[in-house]
């Protein structure tokens, strides 16, 4: 339907937001600059100011106090460096900084320099020079000279300490980040049996370091990009120079730069703005809590995106078969892994097709059931007042409520849910003849099967589509299931992730692609990276030949004994 414009209304005024002509750079303000006359103090984001730092300290402090320092947690500590020397101010946010370091290595160091300078016991330092202070006084490793006022704010708000010096329009951004953070612990959502027990935390620098510990290579590149307009959030791109396709990195940079929102508060927001399609229920990026899996995928040619404040990395490009791979797949024999991959695929299949298949068989095609099974099902459904389709919906809804409830439930009440859910929904419902016992089995199997993937997103997609499939199955039977599956396949084939077809490794086929999707070949045969990422360097290993025969231990022992015998 087309919306018709009523003629009586005036033409809407076209407002064109002026965009900078040059490509956006980190730190650029993307809000249209307005003339000061119409600027309202409350409505404009504080970071809009693009001015230089005033050389006069009083002016700078005044402006800070009307800006970020208006908040009570921002502390501006003014100092007098020496009698004749300039005054200075230290600005930081309480709680984001390690105060001990500020006291000892910034304020303390300045005081000491001042003392020596006054007494003349040592050649004094010219405390009016930023460079001199930086080079000779401060005992801080992470430093940066800044001269934009917005940089002062950004630095302070991310936990740095800014040192302003009277008479200088250059300030010092000193790395004093030190807030309370969670220690590295085992990932809650992706446990492994033999893999490392480390998971990402909420601090970006820690997370980047965790990945770098996995890949100690000069080719591992980390790019920090600040995203957000009102509140800036650091996002890190991690990729391998010489492996990762530069187009992937370039796309990520451009898409990140174009994000024009107040604040990025989750890694999913990054994933959302970076993906190729916005309306699909299918996840177009694999997210993982594991540094080792992130490292593996980065080495395979993917781009990892880490967001400050989030314990997940997002991997681009991602194809459908990536969701069936986990860390554990690379910590065991290929035989077992292939088996578990099959189990996982089967579980995905069960999640999506078991309940609809059951509905289709008993409601539309009872002639396809074996006679004994048909009789047994009819017997168990005898006395149940609802048709099977209503019954299955009751159970699916009950399960979803139970699942959602369990996620929100405080840990110590987990037992309660187990008892209430198991007893009420399982046993009592069957005894009260509200649902049949076979239906309980079906839904229980569906529920358990949906948790076999390392990334819960894909199972969530199946669960989302399940009700539609159930209705179709009840109305059209197996034919309807086939039609719906076709529809989904048609949709999946239309998806891309960073330009890579979502069905890649199955169609289009890449050499070696089949060795690590539904099955897994022995590690020695996985010679290529994930070729759908179009890496610059395709091979990741050469054929491995064992340099020596199986050692003859008995002979070696005998030789050693003989030698010892000779010596004695």
């Amino acid at each position: 339907m087309r919306w018709k414009k009523p003629k009586s209304l005036p033409e809407p005024i076209k407002t064109v937001t002026p965009r900078p002509a040059r490509p956006l750079l980190p730190g650029d303000s993307v809000w249209p600059e307005k003339s000061s006359s119409e600027t309202s103090e409350e409505l404009t984001p504080s970071s809009r100011f693009g001015q230089e730092i005033p050389a006069k300290l009083d002016e700078a402090v005044r402006r800070l106090k009307s800006g970020i320092a208006a908040s009570s947690d921002v502390i501006v500590r003014e100092l007098v460096l020496s009698d004749e020397g300039p005054r200075a101010a230290v600005v930081f946010v309480d709680g984001l900084v390690d105060k001990k370091r500020i006291d000892e290595y910034i304020i303390g160091a300045l005081r000491q320099a001042d003392r020596y300078g006054l007494s003349g016991a040592k050649p004094g330092v010219d405390l009016s020079s930023v460079t001199a202070i930086l080079e000779r006084v401060l005992s801080v490793s992470e430093t940066k000279e800044i001269n934009q006022f917005s940089e002062v704010e950004a630095g302070v708000l991310t936990g740095d300490t800014v040192l302003l010096l009277d008479g200088s329009s250059t300030a010092l951004d000193l790395g004093t980040k030190g807030w309370d953070k969670r220690s590295v612990s085992e990932p809650q959502t992706e446990r492994t049996i033999r893999g490392p027990r480390e998971g990402f935390v909420e601090t970006l620098s820690t997370n980047v370091a965790l990945v770098r510990r996995e890949i100690a290579s000069p080719d591992l590149r980390v790019e920090y990009i600040k995203v957000g307009v009102r509140a800036k959030r650091t996002v890190a791109l991690m990729y391998m120079k010489g492996i990762t396709n530069p187009a992937i990195v370039e796309t990520a940079r451009k898409r990140l730069a174009a994000i024009d929102v107040d604040a990025i508060l989750s890694d999913y927001a990054v994933e959302y703005y970076l993906q190729d399609h916005f309306l699909t229920p299918f996840p177009l990026a694999r997210s993982t809590e594991r540094p080792d899996f992130t490292a593996r995928e980065v080495l395979n040619g993917k781009l990892a995106i880490l967001t400050d404040g989030s314990p997940f990395s997002v991997l681009f490009p991602t194809v459908l078969t990536d969701f069936f791979r986990t860390t554990d797949d690379y910590t065991g024999s290929y035989t077992v892994v292939t088996l578990t991959r099959f189990v996982r695929l089967l579980a995905n299949f069960i999640t999506f097709f078991l309940a609809p298949g059951y509905i289709a068989l008993i409601d539309v095609h009872p002639d396809l059931l074996p006679t004994d099974l048909a009789v047994s099902i009819a017997g168990s459904r005898e006395g149940v007042p609802f048709p099977a389709i209503i019954e299955v919906f009751l159970m699916v809804i009950a399960f979803e409520i139970l699942r959602e409830g369990t996620v929100r439930l405080p840990g110590m009440m987990g037992q309660t849910i187990g008892i209430v859910g198991g007893l009420v929904i399982g046993q009592a419902a069957v005894q009260a003849k509200i649902v049949s016992d076979i239906m309980v089995i079906i839904i229980a199997l569906t529920a358990i099967a949906s948790f076999t993937n390392a990334d819960y997103q894909i199972a969530a997609t199946w669960r989302l589509l399940l009700p539609f499939l159930l209705v179709v199955a009840a109305l059209f039977g197996i034919y309807g299931i086939a039609l719906f599956a076709l529809l989904i396949i048609a949709h999946i084939t239309s998806l891309t992730s960073f330009g890579v077809p979502y069905t890649a490794t199955v169609s289009p086929v890449y050499p070696g692609g089949y060795l690590d999707n539904f099955i897994q070949a022995p590690l020695g045969m996985l010679r290529t990276r994930l070729l759908f990422t179009r890496p610059l360097d395709k091979k990741k290993q050469k054929p491995y030949r064992q340099p020596m025969e199986h050692p003859d231990l008995a002979a070696a022992q005998k030789r050693a004994e003989r030698r010892r015998g000779d010596g004695q």
């Binding site: 009872p366 002639d367 006679t371 048709p387 109305l475 059209f476």
Partner: protein, 409 residues
């Protein structure tokens, strides 16, 4: 430019709608028949109707699911527990559909024939010819054509369906399992409804259907032994399957029965004797010397000489010695040759006897006529097979080869 693309998009929309209509109208909620709203029929019998009440009497054996579940689960069965897990319902009708309609009026649930395991025809109906009813059954889409068809000898099909055997089994499921547990039933042939229909129409082929007896009405094949006191479960109420009913003629009319012995001969001739147990020795005294376990295959050849048709059937038995009673048997090659020859003679004799019965009845169960049709179609045009079959010369030769003669286990 614009009108063209608009037209194209309209065309596209129309195409999509057309596709959707075509694809989605092939099925829909009118196919929604939950299993609980249906009466699951597992066995069906068609008998000759009582005079004046219609041509057919159709009997259905319908499962009571609660009873089966109650029996299996114990306790939850409720009122139905104790009784048989099925009920029998009959109705008359001039046609099969009419009878079914009459059955539907006395049944609360929709009758569902998708799970029919066996179709039993009454002897009376078979005497009149089965073609009209099989024709109707074959065209009834819902009916499972994989159901086994058989003829009740000396009884109505209805009576057989009413049997309830001790291990809580229904006659139809137990009949079904006698045909499915092994590839080949030892005492009879196996005919599915679809085969019955298709074979029936094939020229030069007559049908032989398995025979089913009421318990205690036959003493053949050891069936009676189990009903005698002391022979184990004397209250055995399972139907007995064995022997073959011979049909001939365009109306597929029942013309004769083959006894269990003769059926063995038929299985030889069909090459379907799988685990035949052949007794050798002086047959007069009832004693025997050896028992052979044989698998028998056949080869049929059509020989036409100067317009004369004759057949040669070669039976090839392969097997081992099952039991030795004779004290004179040695392990010399000569003894084995003697046994092999004796066995071949016995097989030939039985096969010839059966063939004689077939020719007498004029029922070409072996499909010899169809060989003429397919191999010499020009000859088929000239002959009248149904009059020729009773006199056509058929030579039967058998050979037996024993393997693993020394093996005892």
């Amino acid at each position: 430019m614009r009108p063209r693309s608009a037209r194209r998009s309209r065309k596209r929309t129309a195409l999509v709608i057309l596709c959707l209509v075509l694809v989605l109208s092939t099925s829909g909620c009118w196919d929604y028949h939950p299993v609980t709203t249906r009466a699951l029929v597992v066995g069906m019998a068609v008998d000759k109707g009582e005079t004046g009440q219609g041509r057919y009497e159709v009997t259905l054996q319908i499962v009571i699911p609660q009873a089966i579940k109650g029996a299996a689960g114990g306790g939850a069965g409720g009122a139905a527990a104790g009784g048989p897990p099925f009920y029998i319902t009959s109705a008359n009708g001039e046609t099969f559909l009419e009878a079914l309609k009459n059955l539907q009026t006395v049944n609360g649930r929709q009758i569902f024939l998708g799970h029919v395991r066996v179709v039993i025809f009454g002897e009376g109906l078979a005497m009149e010819g089965l073609r009209p009813i099989v024709e109707e059954l074959a065209r009834y889409a819902e009916l499972d054509k994989a159901a086994f068809s058989m003829i009740a000898r000396g009884a109505k099909g209805k009576d057989i369906l009413a049997l309830s055997s001790p291990p809580d089994k229904m006659a139809s499921t137990s009949l079904h399992s006698t045909f499915t547990v092994a590839d080949q039933h030892p005492n009879t042939v196996r005919v599915r409804l679809a085969e019955f229909y298709i074979r029936g129409w094939e020229p030069g082929f007559d049908q032989g259907l398995p025979t089913v007896f009421m318990p205690g009405t036959t003493t053949e094949g050891g069936a009676a032994a189990t009903t005698q006191p002391g022979g184990g479960g004397q209250d055995r109420t399972e139907p007995v399957v064995g022997g073959v009913a011979l049909l001939n003629d365009q109306a597929w009319r029942l013309v004769d029965w083959l006894s269990f012995e003769e059926t063995t001969g038929l299985l030889y001739l069909l090459g379907k004797a799988e685990h035949d147990s052949l007794r050798l020795g002086p047959s007069e005294s009832g004693e025997y010397d050896e028992v052979l376990h044989l698998v028998i295959r056949r080869k049929v050849r059509l020989i036409t000489e100067g317009g004369q048709i004759r057949f040669r059937i070669d039976l090839m038995g392969k097997g081992r010695i099952g039991e030795v009673r004779s004290t004179t048997l040695t392990t010399t090659e000569g003894d084995f040759v003697r046994i092999q020859n004796e066995a071949a003679r016995a097989i030939e004799a039985q096969a010839r006897e059966t063939l004689r019965r077939l020719q007498e009845a004029g029922s070409d169960v072996l499909g010899l006529g169809s060989m003429v049709l397919y191999q010499r179609p020009e000859l088929w045009e000239k002959i009248d097979w149904s009059s020729l079959f009773p006199t056509v010369p058929v030579e039967v030769r058998a050979t037996v080869r024993l393997k693993r003669k020394g093996l005892i286990s």
